[in-house]
Symmetry: D2
């Protein structure tokens, strides 16, 4: 695993997401579909392919970027935010339609990841990192 030399840290603990409840997001997405009677199109695999389609659009934006950071060209930052939002919307919808409580699944997975990669053992190390 290569470090990122010249990596210009964008991470800033003072740049949080705006507060918003995940369940209220699910409700908005569900209402959007219901209002248009689109539930009929939202099967598990239709939504999964839609997620993949949007991920592909995100990949298109950075496919020739190499490892420079920021990887997203300055004039594509809005498009990039849009693609991540599209992936998020469809992921929330996919979880909703396939019976997954995303909040619970998230907490459960992060907890198990913490047990799998104990801090003292993996700090600063990528050993077995990609075997997860």
């Amino acid at each position: 695993m290569a470090k990122c030399p010249g990596w210009k840290r964008r991470y800033d603990p003072h740049m949080p997401f705006t507060n918003r409840d995940l369940e209220s997001i699910r409700q908005d997405v569900a209402a959007f579909a219901r209002d248009r009677d689109w539930d009929q199109f939202h099967s598990t695999r239709n939504l999964l392919l839609a997620v993949i389609s949007e991920i592909g659009e995100a990949a298109e934006i950075v496919r020739w970027s190499g490892d420079r950071e920021p990887a997203v060209p300055a004039d594509k930052q809005q498009a990039w935010a849009d693609e991540l939002a599209d992936v998020f919307i469809l992921l929330v919808r996919l979880a909703d339609r396939s019976g997954v409580d995303l909040t619970v699944a998230f907490a459960d997975k992060l907890r198990r990841a913490g047990e799998k990669y104990p801090v003292e053992q993996f700090k600063g190390s990528n050993r077995k990192y990609d075997e997860g």
Copy 2:
């Protein structure tokens, strides 16, 4: 666009996600990486490829399912929830590291989608739906 005849509706307005603030989720994911000194590996493209890898694992679960519902085999429901959680965790991390406020990007995109597909014009119709 094909409707889903025989579609067994899983959608249930009484099965919400557990309440959880999206910013607190971002903080937990960021803390997980920081505690292990893994920020150095979390470049935009590393994370994007990680998202794609997890989406691929979700695709593996339903790739031979056809469009029956539920598409996820009964004995794979936990694995399915895990894959969606992995995609979610990495998507949150990707947004965080590439300077996207996912809450704002979400609301902004859903609003514009609403303007693009007015209810009265698209209700029950898929016209131009996939040209989005």
Copy 3:
């Protein structure tokens, strides 16, 4: 794994691909890049993300199709062929640039798949099929 009821068989042993040597395809793709001095952009991960981007465009075409066949809408057949060609071109380039002899890798993998799924044991059965 669901069978495809009402599956309209498109497979026709009399509809072969036009004959063409895979190595001559690799040469054409390599010449295309070399003529434009684009080798400099064709790193492994740039090309992989490009493959994913094109796969995403293929997914977009059939994402709302459900399980009907043909899954590709009649007016999208040319676009579909184009996307598969894009994936193919980039896959050939990716193999070339990352030191993989695609002909050998193909034959080797198909042979091992044949050993893993013996005909007598897996004929008409999907048992363990998706554990591959």
Copy 4:
């Protein structure tokens, strides 16, 4: 688009693919499925999801690599070749089952790409490259 500084050229015009006819590859893949009576599972979207699943496994191998070359860790070269072979096998099968002559689609697409990016205009330049 970033160049690849320190890019260790793997490309070697003397490292061709082994000669093999693309139609004979299609036939082998088709025979593999027919012998096991698996045509029934090979719908367009099943195969597309299978392609995506295998692409995801390739992404897993290089997801933490950054853009160093070779991106594929030395001990993963066989796995990498296997994943590219899997993508290739499933792509050939997908084209076959969805009525695409991959040889013709390839030649047609490369010809049009050549017209879109004339050598004299794009040599060494990435101008509009990613608008393709």
